[in-house]
Amino acid sequence: MAYNAKISRVGAMTLFDLKGKQTALAGWAGEALPPFPNTPNTSASKDEMELLFIGPDHWLLHAPLGREAELETVLTPTEAPPEISIVRISDTQTFFSITGPDAEQIISIASPLDAHLSVFPENGATFTEAFGLKALILRKRDGFSLSVEQSFGDMVEDYLERAMS
């Protein structure tokens, strides 16, 4: 039987790249942010926003695109002190939603990431490889979110269609 999964291209989301020590970031923008997740490659959420712990001293703030302007105002990237870096990168990634009972199988075609629940938890969030590209994979209700560098979006859409055919 063919795969029982649904794939849709979501496009851009609000993304801010946050680097620096957690304390410094929390000091600058802590109130605007969800709590900092403690475990690498997991996320914590608040008000439709998610804070993804995706590298050493490195987080992504992820939210619906409509929140971008508001968050920019709160985070004031250009004013941030030298020891932290906040860069708006919403346009750099394009997102796909993969849901349904076979979503994990689609991920296994795309990526070498072990997306089994015992390894990649409910709040899993990590950069990995998908279709030869650097990709961000988030576990979502009923499936996954997969995003790649925006310029590769058409290619990944093409690939996902082939996987589902």
């Binding site: 690498p40 490659n41 070498p112 990995t128 650097k134």
Partner: protein, 84 residues
Amino acid sequence: MLLIKCPFCRERSEIEFVYGGPVGPDRPDPTICTDDEWLDYLLMVPNPTGPVEERWWHAKGCGDWFTIWRSTVTHEVVDRPGDE
């Protein structure tokens, strides 16, 4: 395809990483070292039949650069020689 343990992301497939070469001598201070010291640093990389320390970049993951010790003969990741 190795399974490489990234300090941040734990075990991941080699295709997420970029190889960065073996770790040789430290970079000498170019303002005072001799030509030979410089050339040794630049060209005479370790090439053992056995454990070698090498650099890997988690290019498609967290972006960390780190080193592992790996046997060039078996490809197994091994402890740093001298460590237990």
